[in-house]
Symmetry: C2
DNA sequence: CAGCACCTGCAACATGGTTGCATGTGCAAC
DNA sequence: GTTGCACATGCAACCATGTTGCAGGTGCTG
């Protein structure tokens, strides 16, 4: 089946990427990395568990896979506004600044990739590695619904 | 004693503010609100417990006081990078944008109040209420230690 | 195909936050 | 000043998220 060979191929690519980072290409890692690659936004541990569905792996294993992803620089880990960690693929260079807009009404989070704000001035000697901008207010939909 | 009357006066002001919001002026609320007013930065639940010292109140009561402060618009609640909530006085307008720098090495957090970055462009119809900027990298001390 | 290092799963734990319920107290009416 | 009631507090138990230790399984290399 074409579906199956497509899947295999993609998994192979991912597996190669994993091995390139000096680790073992295990099903757990392959699946999680594939998921993160396909995700349009940062995922929580819970999101991933859900997405894995029947192919679920142990809670702890998932935490460890995610930690390993972060350690090896393949992913980023962020605490979101409701104090749960979110994981997203590490961008290869360009994605160091990221802006989110969270609607106080509907709770939806929007990614504002197109508007990378300039980093503010830092004190002498500080080295900036990453920047996250967290905006809050009302999104267009909710603002209109309320008008 | 002058200390005592000074204390009373300040507490009175705070109590009045509390009552103005339609709630009871209880010792717990007065103390917490006074603390937040005096704090230069956002405090965690733990910070507040420490600061209260001998005048400590119950964990749960503190949570409820803080929630009430947020509900009544007197304070803001934010999850910081290590996924604990931080509380700060609601600013009357000027303090809506806030920038933090967290050092990946030593974990210390610096407040960059002096450099309020301009808010990025938002999509049509979005209403911005508050903005937090989370910068990461190495602080001057750690950068030097590593050089 | 054998061995070892690394990975996984389970169970127990830690921390931060929340809920239910009985008791206490600020405040206002008298 | 006393009384009453609604609201606030304290306690204990609970929940969710994340972490640690350890025994057993498995990808990789030789």
């Amino acid at each position: 089946m074409s579906t199956r060979s497509r899947r295999s191929t993609e998994a192979d690519v991912v597996a190669a990427q994993i091995r390139a980072s000096g680790a073992r290409a295990t099903p757990a890692r392959i699946r999680v990395l594939q998921l993160l690659r396909a995700a349009p936004a940062a995922l929580t541990h819970h999101d991933i568990e859900q997405a894995l569905g029947d192919a679920m792996l142990d809670r702890v294993t998932l935490y460890r896979v995610l930690d390993w992803l972060v350690e090896s620089g393949l992913a980023h880990k962020n605490a979101d506004a409701s104090r749960v960690f979110r994981f997203s693929l590490a961008a290869p260079g360009e994605h160091t600044a990221h802006a989110h807009f969270r609607c106080d009404d509907c709770g939806k989070v929007y990614c504002l990739d197109d508007a990378p704000p300039p980093p503010p001035a830092l004190p002498q000697g500080f080295q900036l590695a990453r920047m996250d901008v967290d905006l809050r207010g009302r999104c267009a939909t909710c603002a209109e619904a309320r008008a």
